[in-house]
């Protein structure tokens, strides 16, 4: 039965159902909501500062990109508050904004026509920390029943699904920062199989002591005390990254169906995707990032010369920066394409980072402007053309977004404008 349904779909729509983005829901340390985020990003306003959520004095890393102005009570019913971690509260608000931006009321659509596919890298650490503390200081009877799911990787998908009555194909992808692209690629797959609409993207938020030491254990955090220079990818002084919280949720739709419903806005399409895994250390084989880029370009049916801008992963560790710069220069030629890392203004948002970069790319396409990477002074050792200091006005029709994850994940996505 399933095969027959899929085959019919292929025959009627062809193998390449195009997948459009029609709504953006953004929550970033330098701006809540897509408009505030975009204005801050173009102005070069950073959201990185000393941690306020807890006293970071005893830890070697003390800076983060915190979302300062989010109040869950303003956005969500009180019934949801005791059962949700901060990341889920931000994700639920983000999904609401994405729907509003898309002009879609999920209550008015068939529930099996809508799916939710998000990425997650850590789950609800703050909620989990509170319950673990209760467990060890007071006993098991003091642990919330909601701990059974509130911490869980899939909880953002689950809560968005329940709140909006979306019962189509839903999932979570856990592959660190790369997961943000992997989830959107999976959403595209489900739309191509016949689900008209999927909300996808990711929101992470684990700036609490437990989340913090877990991130420190990865060995990649910047210990700089200077917010302006702590996270400087492709800089000779790169010394790791500053973590942040937030991300973005995007409404993805079958392009033809979106047009048929008279969608008020089509930001563009998810045109291509590729992912690879790095070889075992010491194997002597090359890193997998370049191959991921080539797969994404091939999947989009495009060539390097058609890409106007690259939003880089920007790990800000010398070895990882070198690998990324070589992959970009290898595909586009030395200094062959403008490259930007706007996450220098938010910190790395883990599973939320790449969805935010996707949103940024669509805003860049809409407005014809590439935001700058702030604070970083690109090293001549890397043959890439980093956009720094101020945004660059230029037509943007297609963008490449890169995201990697600790442990060897590489993902790349191509997004591009859709002609009316």
């Amino acid at each position: 039965m399933q095969t027959a349904v899929r085959d019919r779909r292929r025959t009627s729509a062809g193998p390449a159902v195009r997948v459009a983005v029609t709504g953006l829901g953004v929550a970033a340390p330098n701006g809540l909501g897509a408009d505030a985020y975009w204005a801050a990003t173009l102005a070069g306003t950073s959201g990185i500062g000393r941690i306020t959520r807890f006293d970071p004095a005893q830890y070697p890393a003390r800076l983060a990109g915190e979302i300062r102005e989010f109040s869950a009570l303003e956005h969500l019913p009180t019934r949801l508050l005791p059962q949700t971690d901060r990341m889920t509260q931000v994700a639920l608000a983000g999904a609401d904004w994405a729907f509003a931006d898309a002009g879609v009321d999920p209550a008015g659509l068939p529930e099996y026509d809508m799916g939710v596919i998000t990425a997650s890298s850590s789950g609800g650490f703050e909620f989990g920390q509170r319950e673990l503390k209760a467990l060890w200081s007071q006993g098991s009877r003091y642990v919330s029943a909601y701990q059974s799911f509130a911490w869980f990787y899939a909880v953002n998908s689950g809560q968005i699904s329940i709140r909006n009555g979306m019962r189509g194909p839903s999932a979570v992808v856990v592959s660190d920062q790369a997961g943000g692209l992997d989830a959107v690629a999976h959403a595209r797959r489900q739309i191509r199989k016949g689900t008209p609409l999927v909300v996808s993207g990711g929101v992470d938020a684990s700036i609490c002591p437990w989340g913090w030491v877990a991130q420190m254990a990865g060995g990649r955090l910047s210990t700089s005390e200077d917010p302006a220079r702590a996270y400087v990818p492709f800089d000779a002084g790169a010394r790791g990254h500053v973590p942040g919280e937030g991300g973005a949720l995007l409404v993805l739709e079958d392009l033809e169906r979106a047009r048929a419903r008279g969608a008020q806005r089509i930001y563009g399409e998810i045109a291509g995707y590729g992912s690879t895994f790095d070889p075992r250390p010491g194997s002597g084989r090359p890193p997998g990032l370049r191959k991921a880029i080539e797969l994404a370009l091939g999947d989009a049916g495009t060539v390097a010369g058609d890409i106007d801008v690259v939003f880089a992963d920007g790990a800000a560790l010398p070895e990882l920066d070198r690998v990324e710069a070589e992959a970009i220069a290898g595909v586009f030629g030395p200094r062959g394409v403008p490259v930007s890392v706007p996450k220098t203004m938010t910190g790395r948002l883990y599973s939320g980072a790449a969805p935010l970069d996707l949103a940024t790319a669509f805003l860049a396409i809409r407005d014809g402007v590439v935001p700058a990477s702030v604070g970083t002074r690109p090293s001549d050792a890397y043959a890439i053309e980093l956009v720094t200091t101020r945004p660059r006005r230029m037509p943007v029709r297609a963008a490449l977004i890169l995201a990697r994850g600790q442990g060897g994940f590489n993902s790349a996505a191509v997004v591009r404008a859709v002609d009316d």
Binding site: P77, T78, R79, L80, L81, P82, Q83, R141, Y142, S144, A145, Y146, S148
Partner: protein, 89 residues
């Protein structure tokens, strides 16, 4: 072990603290015989509620007690049936 009675006000407070309150429901209204489901509380919310009652009143409730009590009146009666023997002893 508590020696006080478990009241509707106790239940309201514990529901609010543990599970929040549905905006469409007046928890302060006449809810004694309303079904928990219609008040917006599903099984997990009631599990959290019973766990909080147990902590505060120093009792242990049977799982059946909680799942079989469909209304605030039924739950209050059930909880007090655990409390009353303790008070009389």
């Amino acid at each position: 072990m508590s020696d006080r009675e478990f009241t509707l006000d106790d239940l309201r407070r514990i529901l609010r603290d543990g599970a929040g309150a549905d905006e469409a429901v007046d928890l302060d209204g006449d809810i004694l015989d309303a079904e928990f489901e219609s008040l917006g509380y599903e099984s997990l919310a009631l599990l959290e509620t019973s766990s909080r009652i147990e902590r505060e009143f120093g009792i242990t409730l049977d799982d059946d007690t909680v799942t079989e009590a469909k209304t605030p009146r039924a739950l209050i009666d059930a909880v007090n049936s655990f409390l009353v023997p303790a008070r009389s002893s």
